[in-house]
Amino acid sequence: MALIFIMIALIGMVLIIIVARTHGSSNTKRVYVKSKNQLANNNKYILENSKKIEKIFDERYKELEPIKRRMLISVLVFFIALISVFIVKNEYYTYISLGLPLIILGISYYEYNTKSNKKFIEITKEVIHDYNNDLEYIPNSGFSSSEYALCHFPEKCDIFSSEDMITNSKNGFLFSDITIKSEYRDNDGDSHYTTEYEGSLARMYIKDVECKIFLGGINFRNYYTKDYVEVKFENDEFNDLFKAYTDNELLAYKILTPDVMEEFVNIKNDTYGDIDIRIINNKLYIRFLSGDGFDSSALTKNEDRESLCKSIAVLEEVMKTMEKVKKIIDNKNDN
């Protein structure tokens, strides 16, 4: 009997912790201020529109208030019922009085979780659209595995997934989280998967480029030595940061002018870890390591705003660089 009581008390404590975590609206405001300081140098949109974004979050999450109240009431009822169990001392009463609040709590928690994720998606769509009218957030979409394969990234790729896509149909800009997994078999012949790469990939269309250029970090090895030549440029910093391979040296020099190389050097210096750049027949790709960018499922509410701010900062940086590079290359080809 004592054991049962202890187990119920433990479950109750866990439930209170869960409810408390989902209910902390004052904590969210403190997290947001922290984000603002972190992004002070590189996200002008967030800084200028902080009140608007705060309002969007508050309005959307207000719709979750009734569910949160229901969960809190269920927890209170559970504890009142727990105390009454010792007074009433009836088996059926115990099961009903403890079971019902737990069931209601479970259903409410599930409902809250599902609606919370939907809310975050709505918020992300609204904030991104507000940030740039041409951008659209599509959570369950991303790059195709065939397009990814064309980029010839070095990791072994048995499973490719891409989601949380942000797209601009006017210039073919596409930004998405990607995960690459490879399969291996253990001694018993069972297959397992290991994550080879987890990051973000961005793409933009550029004009009149009919060649392939691969740029990788200093450890990048050319896996296609037959068809591609290594090229060194006159920019020493660029040569130190990137190894360049191409199937057409003259076109590579035409495209990788000093302005373009400077942009790539700048984004590399601003990024932690290696970045991979591909220019493949009218498309520019940039791939880099990043956390779960716009993914809502791994986040709790407290982290939503900070994560969204960081993700938009990263998106802005990548988009700015790609637009600059596109402008340089397109102007050169037009003029």
């Binding site: 440029f233 006159e234 080809n333 037009d334």
Partner: protein, 179 residues
Amino acid sequence: MDGKILIIIGVVILVILIVFVSIYNVLVEKRKKIDRNNALVDIYLKKRFDLIPNLVEVCKGYSKHEKETLEKVAELRSSFNSNPTKETTEELNKVYSSLIAIAESYPEIKASDNYLKLQKELTNVENEISASRRIYINSITSYNNVVMRFPSSIIASMFGFKKHNLPKYDYSDVKVEFK
């Protein structure tokens, strides 16, 4: 003991020979690359040169006032065809930028389809010339680095590999910007 010493000496000599030959081959390859890349620059310069008559045709129909320039172009071309010299080529290249200036100053020419097509081709050629020059300069720099560094400098001086001078381009009469 004597045998072992001989083997060691033999191996050392073999290694030195291999290094020697490798460096020599690298020098030869880099020198050939310079010549190849120089030829590439000439190819694109010739391509631009071959577009000059098209430019003359476009300008001729619209501009009666620039007769003198157009006549000079015709004269230089026939002189070049009969006796191609470096001086004539340089004169023609200078006149090329004058032709562009003529075309840019007449709105009727600028708006014509022929000129727009030609402009695109000329832009492309200019970019190709610029890229091929960069490749050429890089190949000279790479070759000079090998010639001047130790120990390849020893082998370079033994076999007459000398430092290559970087070309001097007079951009004022060659690079043209379209407005």
